[in-house]
């Protein structure tokens, strides 16, 4: 089993992985950049506006302009802050956001130079746990940044953010257990493969069919993990000014904002992978098309991207629809509704599986 021994050294393999890492990282960055654009556009459209349209055609260069602006803005580090940590915060946020993408199977393998190149950076057998591990580290970016700013609003926001993320991580994990019972593996590739080849071109074996409740919980939690409205308590403008990155400016602020969008994108990808068949194109059976493997890979990749973008869109859609929670409501939802629901879901699934096995 590949991936079982994490430290088998193969230089081509490493090169290939490095390339893939670069690709995935830049993809995430680009997607994140355009996600900021998309956010503004979606917001505008939902509010009967047009949104940015000045930079470039349809304002397509707007993200670049924003990026440029952030780069050239004055870099302010508050005097009373703890300098090293102040810098470390956004870095951590960015890194943890990017790390998640490592275990996602982006598509079927490519075939280049007679090598089957898996489009997954690391197919470790604890893929989902890895995601959870990294997500749980996401807290640090927020907390360190918020604390290092030496600003009470930042601190409050950081603590809010951290507690929110920790709380929702639980429900998130629990909601996935039922799914893991179906697949019997934590390996992402196995989970995706499990969803291939059902009826309607794979659609009927998508996990969302079997785990609708699990998906809903996961979705809500994902939203909370990304600090998206209605869970954007950490940056609730009217209470905390600007939240944990209040003291940040320039590209450090940019990192935080970027990290949020990367998170959003990755969570969309994860949701597609876990519940919506990953790179599986529904209603059709790609294998019968008899085209080159690489084309299949590209189609799969696009499918995955499409699904992810859909979720990103839904995130935005929700953001511009639903008002923000109060903090106690947020906690109540997490602890008193989602966790019990997830548990119920788990138990029911377990019984059904047992029953079916008989």
């Amino acid at each position: 089993m590949q991936g079982m021994y994490l430290l088998v050294v193969d230089w081509y393999f490493i090169l290939e992985k490095f390339l893939l890492v670069g690709l995935v990282v830049s993809l995430s960055m680009v997607v994140a950049m355009y996600a900021t654009y998309a956010e503004r556009k979606v917001a505008a459209f939902l509010q009967d506006r047009i949104g940015p349209n000045r930079a470039g055609i349809f304002g397509l260069l707007q993200p670049l302009a924003d990026g440029g602006k952030l780069f050239f803005k004055e870099e302010i580090i508050p005097l009373a802050s703890s300098k090293a940590l102040f810098v470390l915060g956004p870095m951590l946020a960015m890194i943890t956001a990017l790390l998640t993408s490592a275990v996602i199977p982006w598509s079927t393998p490519l075939r280049i130079f007679d090598r089957n190149i898996s489009l997954q950076i690391a197919d470790i057998n604890i893929g989902i746990l890895y995601i959870f591990g990294v997500v749980s580290l996401g807290v640090y970016g927020i907390m360190i940044g918020g604390w290092a700013s030496n600003n009470k609003f930042s601190l409050l926001a950081a603590i809010r953010g951290a507690s929110q993320m920790i709380s929702y991580e639980l429900a998130m994990g629990l909601s996935l257990i039922a799914l893991l019972m179906l697949t019997g593996s934590l390996q992402m590739s196995v989970i995706v493969n499990h969803q291939l080849g059902g009826g309607l071109g794979g659609l009927l074996s998508w996990h969302v069919i079997y785990q609708p409740l699990g998906f809903v919980i996961f979705f809500i939690c994902a939203m909370a993990e990304c600090n998206r409205t209605p869970f954007d308590l950490p940056e609730a403008e009217n209470e905390l000014n600007f939240g944990y990155h209040q003291e940040y400016s320039s590209m450090k602020l940019g990192f935080y904002l970027f990290a949020e969008y990367i998170n959003m994108f990755i969570s969309g990808v994860v949701m597609s992978t876990l519940f919506f068949g990953g790179y599986d194109l529904p209603f059709v059976n790609e294998e019968t098309w008899n085209i080159h493997q690489n084309w299949l890979a590209i189609i799969g990749f696009c499918t995955l991207l499409g699904k992810a973008f859909f979720f990103v869109f839904v995130f935005m859609w929700i953001r511009w629809t639903i008002p923000r929670f109060r903090f106690d409501q947020l906690m109540n939802l997490g602890w008193k509704r989602l966790i019990p629901l997830a548990l119920i879901n788990m138990v029911i699934t377990a019984f059904v599986i047992l029953w079916l096995k008989k």
């Binding site: 430290l7 088998v8 057998n125 746990l129 591990g133 807290v139 907390m143 991580e169 934590l186």
Partner: protein, 166 residues
């Protein structure tokens, strides 16, 4: 010196350095962060020993949950360098000497222990994989596993009793 050894030494040095910094840092937040670094290097060791499950659980549980709580508490209390109480220099010295002596005693005692010749297998062996661990945990160790739920319940009740404001 192959890759494994390099990794081992690197992780060991990082772990020890992190641990030392935990103890010596004036600022509690720095201590926490160094401790997290130490945990990471220990997780690295687990990966080296091919205990993947423990490696990731170590990160999720310790780094992801426990240390966040620590950070929480420290931040809420607004502890920093200035609030760190000064301990008597001699007490510090005594503590250090005691710990050092303990270390020496341990090393002296264990240097010629009964298992000196043996090695821990690195990179191979599949007992650390989640599949095997899970099977063992839910067959042989299912009773302790269930018992640990009592522990959690009591911790939960306790945290509520203690933590809630009257």
């Amino acid at each position: 010196m192959n890759v494994t050894q390099i990794l081992f030494w690197f992780l060991s040095v990082l772990a020890l350095f992190g641990a030392l910094m935990v103890v010596t840092s004036k600022n509690p937040v720095h201590s926490v962060l160094w401790l997290i670094a130490t945990f990471f290097s220990i997780s690295g060791h687990y990966i080296l020993l091919n205990a993947q499950f423990l490696a990731i659980v170590n990160i999720i549980v310790y780094a992801g949950a426990i240390m966040v709580l620590f950070l929480f508490v420290i931040m809420l209390m607004n502890l920093n360098k200035t609030t760190e109480p000064k301990k008597n220099r001699w007490l510090k010295l005594a503590g250090g000497v005691a710990g050092g002596c303990l270390l020496l005693v341990f090393i002296a005692a264990l240097k010629s222990s009964e298992i000196t010749q043996q090695t821990a297998e690195v990179k191979t062996g599949d007992i650390g994989l989640i599949k095997n661990l899970g099977r063992e945990l839910f067959s042989t160790y299912v009773v302790p596993f269930e018992i640990s739920s009592i522990l959690f319940l009591s911790a939960m009740v306790g945290a509520v009793v203690i933590g809630k404001k009257e």
